[in-house]
Amino acid sequence: MKRVISSVLFAVMLLAIAPALAQDGTTFTWGTFGNPVSLDSMNTTDGISFRVITQGCEGLLRFDKGTTNTLPNLATSWETSEDGLTWVFQIREGVSFHDGTPLNAEAVAWNFNRWGNTDHPEHFEEFIFTYYEYFYGGFDDESVIASVEATGEYEVTFTLNAANGVFLTNMAPTMTSLHSPTAVRENGTAYGDPEVGFVCTGPYQFVEWLPDQRVVLESNPNYWRETEGNVDRVVFQVIPDNAARFAALRAGQIDGTEQINVEDLDAIEMDDSLAIQMRPPLNILYVAFNFRVVELQDARVRRAISMAFDREAIVEAFYPPGAVVAKTQVPPSLWGFNDDIPFEAYDPDGARALLAEAGYPDGFSTMTIVGADEDGNVTDEVIDQRPFTIWYQPVVRPYNPDGQAIGEAMASYLADIGIDATLETRDWGEFLQLGRQGELFGIYQLGWSADTPDPDNFTGTFFINTTNPLPRSGWYQNPELDALLKTARATSSQEAREPMYQQADQILHDDVARLWIAHTGVPLGFRSCIEGYYANPVAEYYSTVVNNCG
């Protein structure tokens, strides 16, 4: 009996080891930390889903590899009217979706109408279409897009309600990639689910998605464009634990990954079989002031708080390599960045003097909260007195690797100038909700990662008065800034827009409207035998990857 058991165990061991030797040279396996939510690009908001969709779905424009410049893609050319209200796109001929449905002007118009018109039969009420609402200002009549029509077999005409400088750029991100009308109609609300996946026009088509295990894509044999890479199968392998995922990279079970623990970065540098690439920073960690706190309504107090923080020390202590100290909301890698704005120097003595000038020679430990009226204007009515609070982010984000530790550092910097602050946080969902409602009283950490490489996505998002920006921007109001950003958004030419965003950041700096802390690059780890991967903060295309691992 013993002999039988030991023989069986030995056989199991042998069988277990043998398949590990098999390795397909043209598969690219990306180790991902989580599961996608939906593969319908307008029915999700998470980066993991977008990364998968990007490999198989395309928009009218795309990003040039490794840059945030846009290139023609499913649209070959376009024209705009002088007033910027009419856009006519010529659609590439001879392209089909993965299910054989032809890509033509009808299909393009169908996608936009589905997203934007709530009475469209495929605008399923269970779906969120968050990015349409966000990019175009709302649905139906609220949308900046008045109509989308096929004006020829391969010609689509967009009519806008107002000129929009970001309109063209927004045709490139994954969110506005085009899906097969046939597939969406046939599958209904199951479209984008693990059973269906996506049906688009891109270089890879959907094979399978086993939730919390893997998503598999394979080459689209009818892809319209020559690709540079040699990968004919893409696997997204879900490995939630950072250390285990790094172990899988070292063991060659995955070819590349992100969210690597800082302590493992050194191990990659020392290992010849592994390599690091840095995804350029296109994000920001900021500290916002809540302007319903009376003490913070005084610009001298805000400046004092700004001068109290040693940003260089914070970045040095808490951020991975590749992070830089921020001095504006727009990151340096993006056009519209204003390099003339000075870094806020760490100056606790100057901060204490400013506080004294503002009437707080001994600092303060409590805050006075005033109310807001129905229109969202801050009133003088005192509604509460509370301990002065620093809200720290409860979740890890690329731009905020450790909210609590950074919050504690900030509290100690403030204590140094006499401001006694209490640290607080909430569950992430509640934190966001309080932020939207303008009820994070005190100062609070939050951040932003770009959806689209346009300064409007940074500055315009927070400081233009559209749906409910006043509470979510800490009740900050500045009519001059609002007017400037609205003009910038309604201007088509990038040359004309650039100085407006530079001026906007200057206004924000002069007014100490917010504190900018850091822009963070994201380290990616690869096996050295992987080439042709272009790290890009807005979209990374695996069709350029060359797998030489053999």
Binding site: A16, I128, T130, P240, D241, L432, D451
Partner: protein
Amino acid sequence: MSRYLFRRTLEAIPTLLGTSVLIFALIHFIPGDVTSAILGERATEEAAARIRALYGLDRPLTEQYFIWMGNLARGDFGETIRGGIPISLELSRRFPATAELALIALFLATLIGVPIGIISSIHRNSLLDAVSMFGALLGVSIPIFVLGLLLIFIFGVELEWLDFVGRIDNDISIPTITGFYLIDSLLQGNLRAFGNAAGHLILPALTLMTVPLATTARITRSTMLEVLGQDYIRTAHAKGLTRRAVIVGHGLRSAMLPIITIIGLQMGGLLSGAVLTETIFAWPGVGKWLFDSIVARDYPIVQNVTLLVAGIYILVNYLVDLLYAFADPRVRVAA
């Protein structure tokens, strides 16, 4: 006996109802809501309100509770809010993964733990006893993620002997029959798949078995010590039985009740999913799913799956009670 079984079945109903109220209250009373997880950081208050209305989350809590109970009574587990995937489909994929790992881990823990406990009790206060009890202490003390990662680095990365990502290699597919990969691969005569699945099971099972192994060994030892000091054991020795017959036939048989209890309790716990082990080994089971759902406030998953887990716990305890009756005639007589 059948009256006893009937009574036990009836007792399960109020327990399950109580659990459902508790789960519902807990998940709805903790702050935060599902809209942030669905809409992300770009959400507007209007969109959040739309989502709440769509899923009935703006209705009174009592109404929401009874809607849930009504759906359950029809056998409808509903869909996940995030992603809209049928929960029963996801469960049918994930529960076998959790169960396969749990059963193997518990099988190993029992297979090794009970003999260690017996040997320790026989050689009480010897070096062997000290070593095994120290090992048991280590087993309950060492954090799962430390042990799991250690095993991965030794056997997965350095020696490259064993796989540690998921249940099976990506290039092997097994058509689902039971969802247990070891069984399904054997049923289809696919030895390569069997070996591969077994290879993927070894490290997570070793990691998961440490706590039950240590607990089982310690309980077996202490119970055996108590039993071996009884008069009837001395009588058994006196009447000339072999040492093995005394220990196994008289000692172990009497010590079985607490051992069965502890194994049963652990089985209930393991079947509800092992969050850490599943996270480290990318094991697509129930534990990690439930954990993520609580974080995302995906109410239908949390409510239904937790209730199911509670049901399984009750069922396992029920089976343990049946085993009692089998192992101890006094229970049968009393019933």
